[in-house]
């Protein structure tokens, strides 16, 4: 990756820091949460100093992630409004996945898949936060049926969220030249023109 003054800025420093704060929290939460979910993952508690520390830290990390995500949500919300072109993109996502992206409709800063992911993650975050509070026995003592419902919702949504993050990370790795946008902020013009042509035209003024 050669850095070129002509490269386009996709994320500024604050946006990147915000994203990685959420990302680090998520990784730690997934590792500690999985440990409580299935015995096969229990050894992951060792990463946190044992089961008791994992139990203590998990909810505080959750609150931090929820706050950081809330800021990120308002940062990127207006960029993620679905348009007819996005729906068209989504209806043809199969072509994209099969490696043939030549006929995909022109996309702005985010494509339909990214936008769908954004809203799905926002919903998951909300559900995880609320159900997580139900389970936080150190500070909340809710009726047992509420806690039971919270446990089911929390683990089901967490599993969905982990799967979505796999897709999120994989998509960034699969589409070459993407990770750098979230690491030092820029992408090449060719990358922008190929994957987000409307955004490319908007920021460069070229056709």
């Amino acid at each position: 990756m050669i850095r070129n003054p002509k490269d386009l800025t996709r994320y500024d420093a604050q946006e990147r820091a915000n994203h990685w704060l959420v990302g680090i929290c998520f990784i730690l939460l997934a590792l500690s949460g999985l440990a409580f979910f299935h015995p096969a993952f229990y050894p992951l508690t060792q990463l946190f100093g044992g089961g008791v520390w994992a139990r203590i830290l998990h909810p505080f990390l959750g609150v931090l992630m929820a706050l950081a995500f809330l800021v990120m949500f308002f940062r990127f919300k207006s960029l993620n409004v679905m348009t007819p072109a996005d729906k068209e993109w989504l209806s043809r996502a199969g072509e994209m996945v099969s490696g043939n992206d030549h006929n995909m409709p022109e996309q702005g800063k985010y494509n339909g898949g990214q936008k769908a992911m954004f809203w799905a993650m926002a919903l998951c975050m909300l559900l995880l936060f609320v159900s997580g509070v139900f389970l936080w026995r150190a500070y909340f003592n809710l009726p047992v049926d509420v806690v039971r419902l919270g446990a089911v919702v929390h683990s089901a949504v967490a599993a969905i969220m982990i799967a979505m993050i796999f897709v999120h990370v994989y998509a960034a790795l699969w589409v070459r030249g993407t990770v750098r946008a979230m690491v030092y902020g820029t992408v090449t013009r060719a990358w922008a023109k190929q994957h987000h042509r409307a955004w490319y035209r908007q920021v460069t003024g070229k056709s």
Partner: protein
């Protein structure tokens, strides 16, 4: 925690068999509510044998004292005043862990070895493995375990597993002055209960019966009730308790399904890369823009 270790029937958050070569007789404690006088000797004996003293609380205007189970009070007498056929009945139930054959606490517990079920039926908490999450409370159909505010470990009645391991009856059974608390093999206790039920029926309690709820696979603490058709009269003893379907879902099918789904997405991504290759910016576009930039 007891010294037994070769007679473990089930161990929390453990997917392989626990040491279980030693088979022991299934035991049970039988609490005959109809002969209990509410003296609380069982509560005192429990404190004494386990050597735990709860804080002295306040009187809530009722006989229940302490008012609820705590991490330091593993059994409490619950006093209910009900009117039956125009007569006042004082129903006194010794509350505490029921030692379910299918324990919801053990099913819910995420910490390996924090909850043990012995072959004799006793469900015991091993606090040194407890992480203090409270999932046992979420799993319990009887609302028994309590988390200590001091050490954040869960506590409950151990059925004096240490005494039982050396052939002694639990402290509460040993001390009960009216014989309302009996202890022995589960079969013996059922036989004893049957006799008590016959006696109660002769004395006009048509619905007298044994409380050994099948929904949790039976329990190793059983009650003889004068009104076995309405256990809820006894300060909310659940009628037909079972592990909540939500807990069964959470700690049952959800575990393999979610694990396989997550693994499938991760592996699917890897194989997608291997089979389809990376999505690179096309060479033509790169050349075109390079030309433009010059």
């Amino acid at each position: 925690m007891a010294l037994q270790s070769l007679d473990i029937a089930r161990r929390s958050a453990t997917t392989t068999p626990a040491p279980g070569v030693r088979q022991t007789t299934e035991v049970a404690k039988l609490i005959d509510v109809s002969t209990c006088i509410g003296c609380k000797a069982c509560q005192a004996a429990c404190m004494e044998w386990n050597d735990i003293r709860d804080e002295v609380g306040v009187n809530h205007g009722v006989y229940d004292n302490p008012i609820d189970l705590t991490a330091k009070s593993w059994t409490v007498m619950r006093f209910a005043e009900v009117e039956e056929k125009g007569k006042l009945e004082w129903l006194i139930r010794k509350d505490g862990c029921m030692h379910c054959a299918d324990p919801g606490c053990l099913k819910a517990c995420p910490a390996p070895g924090a909850i043990i079920q012995y072959a004799n039926g006793i469900v015991d908490f091993h606090q040194e493995n407890c992480i203090g999450c409270g999932y046992c409370i979420t799993g319990c159909p009887f609302n028994i375990p309590r988390i200590s505010q001091e050490d954040n470990k869960a506590y409950k009645c151990s059925l004096c597993s240490d005494r039982v391991a050396v052939g002694q009856a639990p402290a509460c059974a040993k001390v009960c002055p009216t014989g309302a608390i009996q202890f022995g093999s589960k079969e013996q206790m059922k036989d004893y209960a049957a006799k008590r039920v016959v006696d109660l029926k002769m004395r006009g309690y048509d619905k007298a019966g044994l409380y050994d709820p099948a929904g949790v696979g039976g329990t190793h603490v059983m009650y003889v009730l004068h009104h076995a058709d309405r256990p809820e009269l006894y300060k909310g003893l659940p009628n037909n308790p079972s592990i909540s379907p939500l807990v069964s879902l959470w700690k049952g099918i959800a575990k393999p399904v979610a694990t396989v789904a997550m693994a499938a997405v991760a592996l699917g991504s890897l194989f997608h890369y291997v089979m389809k290759g990376p999505n690179e910016v096309s060479k033509e576009l790169e050349d075109e823009l390079e030309k433009e930039e010059k």
